[in-house]
């Protein structure tokens, strides 16, 4: 059984008590420590800035050309905080409760409570940085509502909240770079973790411009490297998002938890063809005013697909607003997993729309008649523009076509309450860890978690670890572990560069994506997953015998960059299948067809599965070993989720 190190005591007092109980590093000693931060999104940038402010020396690494490019920047809708500025009954406990319930009771109570507790500090911090959140005419902050909640607690900056929050964290990071407390390495990719005497002591990176393989030493390593949604090839992630840093750390001893928990976001622009490189999300906030529907009959849907009818031709009586019909109390604002599965159900019934038939409508006609086009434009203008650019359709005049797409991964590197992985000194923050969202993440919670981990959790917990090291000595960069790990990375790179087969790395990545989407996507079965495992094993063999990787190491080489990432995705894909097979219940985004209620909702099996599945790597082609962390619920009662 894994020890989550959750402090004892009442839920609401755990974090305060723990902050007092943890050891401190005195200011003069902080500058003797170096902390490595990998990834510069919300979690990484906020952690790096906050740690440097405290006096630690920090090194940051990102694969992009600037820390500001991290994919947090693309988050649209908003960030939750239990401020209760709207006087509508919100509280820390309610945000905690909504998040636990939204995650289908598969998250750790203490972590989620802490997240809700510090959510209020995040908003204060960001406003002080000059983040231009939306405001009311009276000058105070505006809120909107989001899926899975009945209060308005979401702070936003038009449809660009992630951009504004990241630029805030980036500004704090820049301030520390200017002061010399942070050294920023851009266009660098982490390729391995260096351990000395079992502790994380550094990383190996590749300079993506020169190809130089470098060692970097530090007293602690923070992985803030985002999610692994690109294992599906098509997702709403940026093109470069990858699992490599987490995966290589996993192979060095960091357990990987709940990899099968992936979030399929309901409102994305549908796939149009094989050439497609990525999918584009339309913010969930659109469901505040947009109404989701398909025609009531297959015949009408067929005519729409052929272009014989337009959406405007479908009479009100012939439309099925299926979310409003099935979930009268939450309506179009049901959580993401529920909305996604229902869209799939409509398409599977033959009532899908658009040329491909793999889409449902998101209609703003009612909102436009109620509020006027100008108000709708003010609220969602940039999203409507983006939709128009991609589809060449005007969403003010006709309903948007939407369909679910892979968006977020709740699973990730296992961490304890202190955000430390199973490797001492190695931490994992933000989407890259598994900790706060259970089996389904609610909207506007990812930004909250990234910033909570970075601004308000890690500055305390990493200090406790460093204070307990018992030494202020610099990490010995001449230790043989650095040379040994660097050599292994070089061998891996050379092995990839020796591949001179007939398939491109993209060919293999696309095949992997098809397998994952088909068998480990919105609906999963034991039979399908078993088949997928074989397919992935074959594909992995094909990759290592028949992939084609061009060029050499000592140059900017995107063929090599992709190959390294896809090699890791192939291994992760297999673990996701193992995890999905093991978890024969349905919960949140993990829907096993064998386990559903009479109404077709996800049916949990709390007797057997109220645990975190944390997997231990055992070597090349060896089955991973399952460790369980029991989830203990003392403050909420486990119920069948209902949004009716």
């Amino acid at each position: 059984m894994l020890d989550s190190k959750v402090p004892a005591g009442p839920l609401a007092e755990k974090w305060s008590k723990h902050k007092f109980d943890m050891k401190l590093v005195n200011p003069a000693n902080k500058r003797k420590f170096t902390i490595i931060v990998v990834g510069t999104g919300l979690a990484g940038a906020s952690a790096a800035a906050s740690l440097a402010e405290l006096g630690y020396n920090v090194k940051t690494f990102c694969y992009q050309d600037s820390p500001r490019r991290a994919h947090s920047i693309a988050a649209q809708g908003g960030i939750n905080a239990a401020k209760n500025y709207q006087n509508d009954g919100d509280s820390v406990f309610r945000l905690f409760y909504d998040t636990i319930k939204g995650g289908d009771y598969r998250a750790r109570e203490a972590n989620v409570y802490r997240l809700a507790e510090v959510s209020v500090n995040i908003i204060d911090q960001c406003v002080a940085q000059g983040v231009p959140f939306a405001r009311e005419y009276g000058g105070l902050l505006d809120n909107r509502s989001f899926g899975g909640s009945q209060v308005s607690r979401t702070f936003y900056a038009r449809g660009q909240t992630g951009q504004q929050l990241l630029l805030g964290a980036y500004s704090a990071l820049n301030r520390q770079i200017h002061k010399g407390k942070v050294k920023s390495y851009t266009r660098h990719e982490m390729l391995d973790l260096v351990k000395i005497d079992g502790q994380a002591r550094g990383i190996i990176t590749r300079d993506l411009v020169t190809g130089k393989i470098e060692s970097h030493e530090g007293h602690a390593v923070l992985l803030c490297t985002g999610g692994y949604g690109n294992v599906f090839f098509l997702s709403t992630n940026a093109m470069g998002c990858n699992v490599t840093a987490s995966w290589r750390a996993h192979k060095r001893g960091a357990f990987f938890a709940n990899p099968c928990y992936t979030q399929i976001h309901p409102t994305c622009i549908p796939v149009t063809g094989d050439h497609q490189s990525k999918l584009t999300l339309m913010s969930e906030s659109l469901r505040n005013d947009g109404r989701v529907w398909v025609p009531k009959t297959k015949e009408l849907a067929a005519k729409l697909r052929k272009g014989e009818l337009t959406p405007a031709d479908i009479k009100e009586d012939d439309r099925d607003y299926f979310l409003e019909r099935k979930y009268p109390s939450f309506g179009n604002l049901v959580p993401r997993d529920v909305a996604s599965r229902n869209a799939k159900e409509m398409v599977d019934e033959g009532r899908g729309v658009g040329k491909t038939g793999v889409a449902v409508y998101l209609d703003f006609a009612e909102a436009i008649s109620r509020m006027g086009e100008d108000t709708v434009r003010a609220k969602y203008g940039n999203l409507f523009d983006m939709y128009a650019k991609i589809t060449d359709e005007n969403p003010y005049k006709q309903p948007m076509r939407i369909y679910p797409a892979v968006h977020y991964t709740m699973g990730g590197v296992w961490v304890d309450y202190n955000l430390m992985t199973t490797v001492p000194g190695l931490y994992c923050l933000g989407e890259a860890n598994f900790s706060d969202h259970g089996a389904n993440r609610l909207g506007a919670s990812a930004l909250m978690q990234g910033l909570s981990d970075g601004y308000f959790v890690i500055p305390y917990t990493v200090g406790d670890y460093l204070a307990n090291l018992g030494s202020f000595a610099p990490v010995d960069k001449n230790h043989p572990a650095f040379e040994q790990t660097r050599k292994e990375v070089e061998d891996h790179v050379n092995k990839l560069l020796a591949l001179r087969g007939t398939k491109t790395v993209d060919d293999i990545h696309k095949e992997l994506g098809h397998i994952m989407w088909e068998y480990c996507g919105m609906a999963r079965t034991a039979e399908g997953l078993t088949k997928a495992k074989g397919l992935i094993q074959d594909l992995k063999k094909e990759f290592w015998t028949n992939a084609n990787v061009l060029g050499e190491n000592e140059e900017m080489n995107m063929s090599l960059e992709k190959a390294g990432r896809v090699a890791d995705f192939l291994e992760l894909g297999e673990l996701m299948i193992d995890d999905a097979l093991n978890r024969s219940e349905s919960c949140g985004g993990h829907f096993r067809l064998e386990s559903q209620t009479e109404e077709g909702e996800a049916k949990r099996n709390d007797e057997e599965f109220t645990y975190v599945a944390a997997w231990e790597y055992k070597g090349e082609n060896q089955p991973e070993v399952l460790h369980k962390e029991e989830l203990i619920f003392e403050n909420v009662k486990l119920t069948q989720r209902s949004y009716k």
Binding site: A49, S50, E53, Q64, S66, P67, R68, R69, A70, H71, I73, A74, N121, I123, D124, Q125, V127, A128, Q129, G130, V131, P132, F133, R135, E136, G138, G139, L140, L141, R158, G162, Q163, L167, Y170, S171, A172, N174, R175, H178, T186, V209, A238, M239, T272, G273, H275, Q276, S277, K278, T280, L281, M386, K389, D392, P459, D506, N548, L550, M556, S559
Partner: protein, 257 residues
Amino acid sequence: MSNLMNLTLKVWRQKNDKSTGQFVTIQAKDIADDMSFLEMLDIVNDDLTRKGEDPIYFDHDCREGICGMCSLVINGRPHGPMEGTTTCQLHMRSFHDGQTIVIEPWRAAAFPVLKDLAVDRTAFDRIQQAGGYVNINTGGVPDANTIAIPKVIADEAFESATCIGCGACVAACKNASAMLFVSAKVSQFALLPQGQTERYERAQAMVDQMDAEGFGNCTNTGACEAECPVGIKLTNIARLNREYLGAKIFSQRDVHA
């Protein structure tokens, strides 16, 4: 169904920052008009890869028009022919069958070419590091609603804050000036109460860094505004000039110290 087209690309190829580059002609076949411009390049690269040739290196990441990583001067225009659009959001329906498309990297002394179409934009980061922030630490800040900001001011600051840092303004400018980029950040903070305490020092420090990086002087022609994919306005530059003048008169400390 989508229409297919064949195109002739004249692409800047350059091995690395030390070599000299040249235009290379490449044919792009069977390109669908609903593809994005970068998906067209993906297909060209896929072709090159299958032939064992080095694919064209270009910067890109989010492909949603927000990260600012993509660039490209397309037929002489940064981010191509469509207004208010990044290259990743530009679609092939803006082109026609048989067309020749010239694709170049950003051209500016402060943005050296790294390979093919990718340039080094770290100068932008260094300008932000010089002063693009409010000097506060994590924690110890007042409740968010203790600062009331008139909606019109907040909205204007937001407009300035939406700069994606792509560098199109520099690429569009005859002098490769970074004034629009710098002014957007200076404006955001000059407008907001949070930015008041350091407004003049900030303007001075960021302008000094901009000059040190080798960006040119403002031409006042407005090419930057015309090519900006997110609509950052020239009024920001006017405000930067006022802030800079203010810095000369009112600055409380020597920012070079």
